[in-house]
């Protein structure tokens, strides 16, 4: 199993080296992103987000399996309204759109392909384990902060929201603080 993934990774990487286009100028990409955010403000009066979509999805799944418990859980109940399906949430649709948009950009740039992003010094298995744990840690962080980098940092940042700026500085701080300890995963 591991060797199959290994081959896939190398093959995909080789293909990418031939076909993939360079990334867009980060400032231009940032302007594009900023205009999308502004469009959200103007059209709907809210910003972007991602973690909220996960919350809605988890609330929906738990309600499928244990509806009574889901409704009694204060955190999940907030995503379970009486008359609307939990997946009919703004953020869920937005995240599905993000998937489509990313795929579109990737296809245009020749950057779509099965691969595992990692440095040369760790195995695929280790990398995937870290990805899972990192994701779980992030989820807890995002839950406490009421948002993630898209919702809090980008949206709240643009609106000069106090909590969002504090959050953003802590994200950078926390990441820089532990980066050295995890360098083997990336270099």
């Amino acid at each position: 199993m591991a060797s199959v993934t290994h081959d896939v990774v190398h093959e995909a990487a080789a293909e990418r080296a031939h076909v993939a286009q360079p990334y867009m100028n980060p400032y231009l990409a940032g302007i594009g992103l900023g205009l999308v955010l502004l469009a959200a403000f103007v059209l709907v009066g809210r910003g972007l987000g991602a973690s909220g979509a996960f919350n809605s999805t988890i609330a929906w799944l738990v309600a499928l399996v244990a509806p009574g418990y889901a409704r009694s859980n204060e955190f999940l109940a907030a995503y379970l309204e009486e008359d609307t399906h939990p997946l009919k949430a703004w953020l869920v649709f937005e995240v599905v759109g993000a998937f489509v948009g990313a795929l579109l950009s990737g296809l245009l740039a020749g950057r779509v392909g099965v691969a595992v992003e990692k440095g040369p010094r760790v195995s695929v298995g280790t990398r995937l384990a870290f990805a899972f744990v990192g994701g779980a840690l992030m989820a807890v962080g995002a839950a406490f902060a009421r948002g993630c980098t898209s919702g809090q940092a980008l949206t709240g940042g643009a609106l000069l929201n106090l909590g969002s700026w504090a959050f953003m500085m802590c994200v950078f701080g926390g990441a820089y603080a532990v980066a050295w300890f995890f360098r083997r995963q990336w270099r």
């Binding site: 940032g30 992103l33 990737g106 992003e117 940092a153 802590c170 994200v171």
Partner: protein, 203 residues
């Protein structure tokens, strides 16, 4: 004041979901354009060789912020109708730190993990599952963490309110900090590249 359109009843809930989908497309598109479907590119920010994360994020913040400023000034947008997440500063500081650690360990944030999965990265997909698991874990232990979750409740607060600096001046300040930061970032990247170059030249 015509905007935000949805809040002034220009269209209904169903239409707003379609708008969400379209905006999401733009969101995912530009994230991928910037290369944020790649964990290696994202974490390079924290090893100082590639500060694209900082550049993209702050450019986006400045763009949207200036947009809000000018559209409000022109009387087109009513900024009081744009949703602001309330501040729970203790919870958000703890959350931010955890998120930062998760970023370096996992290699993505929730938005970029979706971008990554869309372009075929397995580690992005695994991250998504990890994130889902973490969310479930948080929900299941919510009664225990509720105290921390609601700690530092300051209500809805903005920087102009708290710092007592007029909004327009603060906007200019943020632009100055961002542009200064970009110049600094370019300098740092050059330094790190120069450090790496002598090592590779001998190979």
């Amino acid at each position: 004041m015509s905007a935000p359109f949805y809040k002034l009843d220009a269209f209904g809930d169903e239409a707003s979901l379609i708008v969400a989908f379209l905006i999401g497309i733009g969101f995912g598109f530009f994230l991928e354009r910037a290369g944020f479907g790649s964990a290696k590119k994202l974490v390079s920010q924290f090893y100082l060789n590639d500060l694209a994360v900082f550049k993209v994020m702050f450019t986006a913040i400045v763009t949207a912020m200036l947009g809000v400023t000018y559209l409000s000034w022109a009387g087109f947008l009513d900024p009081s109708l744009v949703y602001l997440v309330p501040t729970y500063w203790v919870a958000q500081v703890v959350g931010g730190l955890l998120l930062g650690v998760g970023f370096v360990v996992g290699g993505y944030c929730p938005g970029t993990s979706v971008v990554s999965t869309a372009t075929g990265k397995l580690d992005g997909l695994v991250f998504v599952f990890g994130f889902a698991a973490g969310t479930l874990g948080f929900a299941l232990t919510f009664p225990l963490v509720k105290g921390l979750y609601t700690a530092g409740d300051l209500g809805t607060r903005t920087l102009p309110q708290v710092l007592g600096i007029p909004y327009g001046i603060l906007v200019f300040g943020v632009v100055l900090v961002a542009v200064g930061g970009f110049m600094g970032a370019t300098w740092v990247e050059k330094k790190m590249a120069a450090k790496a170059a002598p090592a590779t030249a001998t190979e």
